[in-house]
């Protein structure tokens, strides 16, 4: 396998919050040292619940939010050091598709104008040829050419998501951040869009950073999986390794919480107590310690934060990742 297309190291993003006149500012630790790589034509799934920092991490990679620390290299280019011109060139190769199919299209622009935007910005085609390119892109995502003249509100959620994909493809990128691309869609439509994403990856050789919360969805598309909790990656590895031999207790809990449409295959349901710790006051030890059900958990968990380290073929951030154990009943 060739070297990675995207290399992210120790990415940090904090948001200052409530800097009132008389209140001391607090800081939300959204992303706290995330490292990951994505190889050409590969899909890395970044999985976590709301507040885990997965969305912020995805946007920081594209500098839609400016990271506070860390490095991002894309095809050997230092993304965070890029000046305006270099950044514009990078944007042709790194794209994003958003979760909300309603907010992600400008309601005042025709679908054709939205899809043409990248082509215009980067002058990828002479004016008279733009229309033909837009129609070709719409065709590639399974929409009629006539869609170009309509407005977003005239389309269903699934169709809008296709339009958002066509817009991202307009600049012919190599890498796309997919930020929960199917979470807002109905099940039957979700399958259509996932299939489309798989086809596009095959036909165009795309790399994906697939941000999601649903492990069953992730399983269909990802080659590797990184599980995030509280701003950090807690487990990272090959898809089957993570799904079949989860080593972090949080990964186990996430897996058991996936609603499976099969009453016969009743797995043991782990119901995690409580909520993640407050994002403004990180605990000193393992952030999962307060909800953990690992039989070997001890005082070290609350006192000392586990680093992400190799355990078998995976990377795991748990002091007790080696001990094998049955999920409690």
């Amino acid at each position: 396998m060739s070297g990675p297309l995207l290399e992210v190291a120790d990415l940090v993003k904090h948001f200052p919050q409530g800097h009132g006149l008389f209140r001391p500012g607090r800081t939300v630790h959204a992303v706290n040292g995330v490292s990951l790589t994505v190889a050409p034509k590969e899909t890395l799934a970044l999985v976590g619940e709301s507040g885990s920092g997965k969305t912020t991490a995805g946007r920081a990679v594209l500098r839609l939010v400016e990271p506070d620390a860390g490095t991002v290299r894309f095809d050997g280019v230092d993304v965070l050091a890029a000046d305006r011109r270099a950044m514009k060139a990078l944007r042709r190769r790194m794209q994003i598709v958003f979760q909300d199919p309603y907010g992600s299209l400008d309601p005042r622009m025709t679908v054709g104008a939205s899809v043409a935007e990248g082509i215009e910005i980067h002058r990828l085609a002479p004016k008279p040829e733009i229309r033909a390119r837009v129609e070709r892109l719409l065709g590639e995502v399974g929409l009629e050419p006539a869609a170009a003249d309509k407005y977003p509100h005239q389309f269903s959620g699934g169709q809008r998501q296709r339009i958002g994909i066509a817009r991202a493809l307009g600049v012919d990128p190599a890498f796309v951040v997919l930020d929960e691309p199917v979470s807002a869609l109905d099940v039957s439509v979700q399958a259509q869009v996932l299939n489309l994403l798989l086809d596009l990856q095959r036909d165009r050789g795309l790399s994906y950073l697939f941000i999601a919360h649903d492990l069953a969805v992730v399983r269909q598309v990802a080659h590797r999986i990184a599980v995030m909790y509280y701003g950090r990656i807690v487990e990272q590895g090959g898809r089957d390794e993570v799904l079949e031999r989860p080593r972090h207790p949080y990964t186990r809990a996430l897996l058991s919480a996936v609603p499976e449409p099969d009453p016969a295959a009743q797995r043991v349901r782990i119901v995690l107590p409580g909520d993640p710790p407050s994002p403004t006051s990180p605990p000193p030890g393992c952030p999962f310690a307060s909800r953990c059900f690992h039989p070997a958990r001890d005082g070290r968990c609350a006192a000392e934060r586990p680093e992400l380290r190799p355990v078998g073929p995976s990377l795991v951030a748990c002091h007790h990742a080696e001990s094998t154990w049955e999920t409690p009943r």
Partner: protein, 280 residues
């Protein structure tokens, strides 16, 4: 921008209340354009001054206490009041929109400084600032009056626009444009401005009414338009001594102010709906 100006107006016309507003505004503008040409000189005081007379066949809306034809004065007043309002509002909207968009899209120190200035300006009553200025500058020419009204009316608009921009900045379509490599200019003109147009329109009609009333108020206080030039405000001012004996001298200019403000409100509602492509 959705469609053409014509398309937007057509859509507003289809809306019944928008249509009635447009009809009234159109009639007022026609009255302001044509009235002064066909009606007698509004400033001429007849030599045989008969004082204020009620509506009659020769003076449909009656005369004021100098015996001047009220209809003619209303027509010339419409020209002045509507022109002042339109130009002053256009001026204040432009400044307010520019400041709001700059503050919202740049953020950081630029935003903080601009918004502190706006806060300070909003804390002072506009009428007070205007009175102060006009006290210093006696017999102010009309263009300067318009400029002063316009320059003191943009604070609220800038706040509204900034708030919208802050919200829009985090919408997927603006983020997508940035991710596609759109610069600030493109983001502002392609995405932000068209999407705040609705807010600006509402703000425009609110200020339209405000400015007509403000000009009337200033003129009433004797520091705006100077007699004998009629504006609706001046006419209300002139009626202050005669309205008990000749109520029509107060009623007609007052009614026109109210009707204009109401009609702009109706048109604004219809335009706002027409601007929303979801309503098409």
């Amino acid at each position: 921008m959705i469609g053409s100006l014509r398309g937007t107006l057509t859509a507003a016309w289809r809306n019944p209340s928008g249509r009635s507003g447009l009809v009234v505004l159109g009639a007022l503008i026609a009255f302001a354009l044509v009235g002064p040409i066909v009606l007698p000189d509004p400033t001429r005081i007849p030599e045989l001054g008969q004082g204020a007379t009620g509506p009659s066949l020769s003076h449909w809306f009656g005369t004021d206490h100098f015996g001047r034809d009220l209809l003619a004065r209303l027509a010339t007043g419409a020209r002045i009041s509507l022109a002042i309002a339109a130009i002053a509002v256009a001026l204040s909207l432009s400044i307010g929109t520019a400041v709001g968009i700059i503050a919202g899209s740049f953020g950081g120190a630029v935003d903080r400084i601009l918004m502190r200035i706006v806060d300070a300006a909003l804390a002072l009553p506009r009428l007070f600032i205007l009175l102060l200025l006009l006290a210093v500058w006696e017999r102010i020419p009309i263009p300067a009056l318009v400029a002063v009204i316009g320059a003191t009316g943009w604070f609220g608009t800038s706040r509204l626009v900034r708030g919208e921009v802050l919200r829009l900045k985090h919408e997927g379509f603006v983020q997508a444009a940035v991710a596609l490599g759109a610069g600030r200019t493109r983001t502002i003109f392609r995405h932000l401005l068209p999407n705040v147009a609705g807010v600006i329109l509402v703000s425009a009609t609110l200020s339209m009414g405000d400015v007509i009333l403000l000009e009337a108020g200033l003129s009433y206080l004797g520091v705006g338009i100077q007699p004998p030039t009629p504006s609706w405000g001046v006419m209300v001012f002139d009626a202050r001594n005669s309205f008990t004996t000749a109520p029509w001298t107060l009623f007609f200019p007052g009614a026109l102010v109210v009707v204009t403000v109401l009609a702009t409100g109706l048109v604004s509602d219809a335009l706002r709906a027409a601007f929303d492509p979801r309503s098409a």
